[in-house]
């Protein structure tokens, strides 16, 4: 070897594979304004559609008069439910087994519900047309408070369900009831509570919020009358699912539907569902024979397309005096709005909320969820979390703090005492999950040591004493959160969407010069798939990541996949990539053996090629193998080098983490300051540490937003009073605290590369950390639980309710 021969380290580094802080390749176009989003799609003769929406939360639609609107120059058509009925599309099925009005059919059930679709030559004309559509409403009493939904005299919202005592998920108890879902052993749990030395009970609400991606939901539909083909460009997190849904409801042959998700400006769960805008644009294109674009504005996005949370969780824990938990009982009142349009795997009406036992060894637990209708927008999507996992983590993490307070124990100590121990994995939870791997104690202790937890508690004690002496008006909170997520939906045995198993897929095609393309069933909305997917392939087959192009989002070229949400891409599609790459490698090994004239068992893999065992100079690089695959394969072997993998995961993955938030609050103004936020994440094998850090920063910022102010709030009339960024908290660099990130690595034993997924962990763990910090700050004044969001006004109100202004 001469000096020019690269070392093993250099060869590994050149691949930019697993563990490399590779710069995001997609950012080259994003940072130069060269992304290609749906709104960049401009087709010749393209029309624009926009909605007439209901100002009422609940009203009968007496009449719709479009005669004046049709006189507006540029307005070509006004589509109403009556129009859609002619093509049997006035209603559409939801992912949750319900049906939803595409356009108001006799009634409106939430404010800003779609009433009519105006199609015009440009957006301005469409808007002018909207102003001229006259809709006569007869207002009905709105039902806004979920706790009144099942009152005997509650207004009937869904007249279409009259007489239906069974829904998609079993019996309905009331005209506004959707489903009841129960998990766990009720008898055993009740018995644990009877025997308990200590119990707590609290109604913990996770308020309604919204994923609010900066790019709103939008599409362009173009129907080719000659070919009978429909092409849809849309902001879809799951393009293949959309294609199948369109095929099923529009009765078009699936091969004649082309769904393309170009670059997407954030999804966070908001872009999983199917919305009336898509249907109306498609119908309008079929009717007019021209492409039709529909682009939501901000208010429409916040008030009409899928919200998140609105879970009201009555939570009880049974424990011994020493702080060992013995039982968990949770009842959830789940406000789904006017239609059940939750985006969960079909058999899971409350998502994976049964992860609510969290990181703790509960011997028994029982959970019941009642889904109900109200006069609010439909949805209930997983906003930067796996299905209902943020709700579950918030519920248990808040409840553990309440228990610690009752026991007079430190909340971190209580957690350490109840953690599932490393030797218990794979661990079977009382509510039915099999946790794959974890080392919770190590992560918790590392977090506590890093922030000097014991010292913080001493400081807090001193500050509390000073507060009581009247020397300061500042209180300090230390929020501890230890979360276990459940991601990677999911195994075909229990996860499907409309009957399609939740596998994911990858197709890799290697080119003769040692480059290749990977096509995926997933769809990045900013997660950096083009960067990380190539890194997995680089390590698996020894081709530099820069030589692998990743393509997603075109249903004609990509293998069928279930899309990107619920942190499923790495656990499911990441595995499919590794498996496809291993098929390539297996064929490559046969080619190399033939070319090196040895038996393939005599070869060993060495970073970027195969080497003959014991003969280090006999080596064939993967690059050379690619070339050989196209001209000199072994006799009987087909030329070419490509592979497809459809990966059905054997289990979910269970990332976890320990977060600590230190906060001070001025009781006189309610103004808080995040002094420190430390986030330790264990997402198993780390593919790209820089992307992980970016994901954690983004997730924490959204967690901060939700916990500290972001809310979709309704007044008693059903008006959305936080329908714009003026009132809906969207943190910018000004408000956002500094984030400190850290990690441990506990690989998933069943994932081909041991990765678990990370994009959503920070939102799952972040929200309870913030809320626990606020609650911890106020706890010494006698409060047990203050509901989110903790904005300045509510903090001030909390202080007022606790009587801190009376003494002053």
């Amino acid at each position: 070897m001469n000096d020019m021969t690269p070392t093993r380290e250099q060869r590994t580094a050149a691949l930019e594979g697993l563990g490399c802080k590779r710069k995001r390749v997609e950012d080259i176009r994003f940072t130069q304004g060269k992304g290609n989003y749906v709104d960049d799609v401009k087709l010749p003769g393209m029309l624009h559609g926009d909605f007439v929406r209901s100002p009422h939360a609940h009203a009968r639609v007496k009449s719709i008069d479009d005669s004046e609107a049709l006189k507006v120059p540029g307005v070509l058509a006004v589509i109403t439910a009556e129009t859609l009925k002619t093509v049997n599309l006035a209603w559409m099925p939801t992912l949750a087994g319900d049906v939803q009005m595409v356009l108001a059919d006799g009634k409106v059930l939430f404010q800003n519900q779609e009433v009519a679709f105006v199609v015009a030559t440009d957006r301005y004309a469409a808007d002018d047309g909207i102003n001229k559509v006259k809709v006569e409403y007869e207002p009905l009493p709105p039902l806004i408070d979920p706790f009144k939904a099942m009152d005997a005299d509650a207004p009937v919202l869904r007249e279409d369900l009259a007489g239906k005592t069974t829904g998609a998920h079993g019996p309905r108890k009331h005209h506004n009831h959707i489903f009841e879902w129960t998990v766990g052993d009720k008898e055993l749990t009740d018995a644990a509570f009877k025997k308990a030395e200590v119990t707590i009970k609290e109604m913990i609400s996770y308020h309604r919020t919204h994923p609010s991606p900066l790019e709103t939901c939008q599409c362009v539909c173009s129907f080719d009358k000659i070919k009978g083909e429909l092409t849809i460009w849309g902001t879809f997190q799951a393009p293949h699912v959309i294609r199948t849904v369109v095929a099923l409801i529009a009765k078009l042959p699936e091969q004649k539907i082309h769904v393309i998700s170009p670059d997407i400006g954030g999804g966070f769960g908001n872009k999983v569902g199917a919305y009336p805008g898509y249907i109306c644009a498609a119908v309008a294109s079929i009717v007019t024979g021209k492409p039709v674009k529909w682009v939501e504005d901000r208010i429409e996005n916040l008030t009409a397309t899928s919200f998140a949370r609105d879970y009201h969780m009555t939570t009880e824990i049974a424990a011994t005096k020493q702080g060992k938990v013995t039982g968990l009982r949770v009842h959830v009142l789940a406000d789904h709005g006017a239609f059940d349009a939750c985006a969960d795997p079909s058999k899971w009406p409350a998502g994976f909320f049964n992860i609510v036992t969290g990181s703790y060894d509960f011997p028994t637990a029982h959970l019941a969820v009642d889904g109900i209708y109200t006069n609010k927008a439909p949805g209930g999507v997983a906003y930067r979390c796996s299905f209902r996992v943020t709700e579950a983590a918030y519920c248990i993490e808040r409840a553990m703090d309440i228990l610690a307070q009752k026991l007079g124990m430190d909340p971190a100590e209580l957690r350490l005492k109840n953690f599932i121990r490393p030797e218990q994995f794979p661990y079977h939870s009382a509510l039915g999950w099999e946790y794959d791997s974890g080392d919770y104690g190590t992560a918790m202790r590392k977090a506590m040591e890093t922030v000097k937890y014991a010292e913080l508690r001493k400081e807090q004690e001193a500050l509390r004493a000073a507060f009581k002496r009247g020397e300061t008006r500042e209180i300090m909170g230390i929020g501890v959160s230890f979360f276990t997520e459940i991601v990677g939906a999911g195994p075909s045995k229990n996860c499907d969407i409309l009957g399609i198993a939740m596998f994911d897929s990858c197709e890799i095609r290697m080119h003769p010069t040692g480059a290749g393309i990977a096509r995926m069933g997933t769809k990045s909305q900013g997660q950096g798939h083009e960067t990380t997917w190539a890194q997995i392939i680089a390590t698996e087959i020894g081709i530099p990541a820069d030589n692998i192009m990743v393509e997603e989002g075109n249903t004609d070229t990509a293998p069928y996949g279930l899309g990107t949400y619920g942190s499923r891409s790495t656990p499911v599609a990441g595995a499919a990539i590794a498996m496809a790459a291993r098929k390539i490698k297996a064929k490559a090994q046969m080619i190399a053996a033939y070319k090196l004239e040895v038996h393939e068992d005599d070869l060993e893999w060495d970073i970027d090629g195969f080497r003959v065992k014991g003969l280090p100079e006999k080596f064939m690089s993967m690059k050379d193998i690619c070339w050989a695959a196209y001209n000199s394969v072994p006799p009987g072997m087909e030329p070419g080098l490509e592979a497809v993998s459809y990966y059905d995961p054997p289990n979910m993955t269970y990332p976890f983490g320990a977060y600590i938030c230190v906060m001070t609050i001025d009781v006189d103004t309610g103004v808080y300051k995040v002094r420190r936020f430390y986030a330790l994440d264990d997402c198993g094998t780390r593919i790209n540490p820089m992307i992980i850090e970016g994901q954690v920063h983004g997730g924490l910022t959204e967690a901060f937003a939700i916990a500290m102010g972001q809310e979709i709030r309704y007044d008693a009339e059903g008006n959305v009073v936080t329908g714009s960024f003026m009132d809906f908290f969207m943190p910018t660099a000004v408000e956002t605290p500094h984030w400190e990130t850290d990690f441990t690595v506990t690989p998933s034993p069943h994932h081909p590369i041991g990765a678990k997924g990370v994009g959503e962990s920070p939102n799952v763990g972040g929200v309870p950390a913030f809320s626990n910090a606020v609650n911890d700050a106020f706890s010494f004044l006698g409060s047990t639980h203050i509901q989110m969001p903790h904005d300045f006004w509510r903090n001030w109100q909390a202080a007022k309710n606790l009587g801190v202004f009376e003494a002053a």
Binding site: P55, I299, E717, M726, D727
Partner: protein
């Protein structure tokens, strides 16, 4: 939303009562009122331009007078639709009491409901806008009736 207030108007009670029932006076005093026409002794139709924060809309609707107890009190209520800007509905109970022979104390209790874009975008501005509109109305009303500026009580 609810508001209560009272104003002292330098005019006798009967004169104030007459003005409260005079469509021309009301039209002149209701801020943004484009038209107000009597359709029956207790009913009027009105067009009002209303601006709350970023939303400006023309409301068309009905105004009804009820619970009349001349010259002491009545209830004036209305509802109107502003198209895509939303809707407004509400009313006021107005009471008159003499404050000597040449002055009247007018007390009002207003309740109002709004919906649609007005409520979404103007939410935080509604209370202050409503107060401003009420004070504008009574200022104009005092001028129209008493030919002098009114004072709060």
């Amino acid at each position: 939303m609810q508001m209560n207030d009272s104003q002292r108007i330098p005019a006798p009670k009967e004169k104030v009562w007459a003005a409260l029932n005079d469509p021309d006076v009301l039209k002149q005093c209701i801020p943004g009122c484009q038209s107000l026409e009597m359709s029956s002794p207790n009913e009027m139709t009105a067009t009002v331009v209303l601006k709350v924060g970023p939303v400006k809309a023309t409301f068309g609707g009905k105004v009804t007078l009820s619970d009349r107890d001349p010259p002491n009190s009545y209830r004036i209520s209305g509802e109107g639709s502003g198209g895509i800007a939303g809707f407004a509905k509400g009313g006021a109970t107005v009471r008159l009491a003499s404050d000597g022979p040449e002055a009247t104390i007018l007390t009002y209790e207003v309740d109002a409901r709004i919906g649609g874009k007005l409520a979404q975008l103007g939410g935080r501005l509604i209370d202050s806008t409503a107060r401003k509109l009420a004070s504008q109305f009574f200022a104009s009303f005092g001028e129209a009736v008493g030919h002098v500026a009114v004072t709060g009580v």
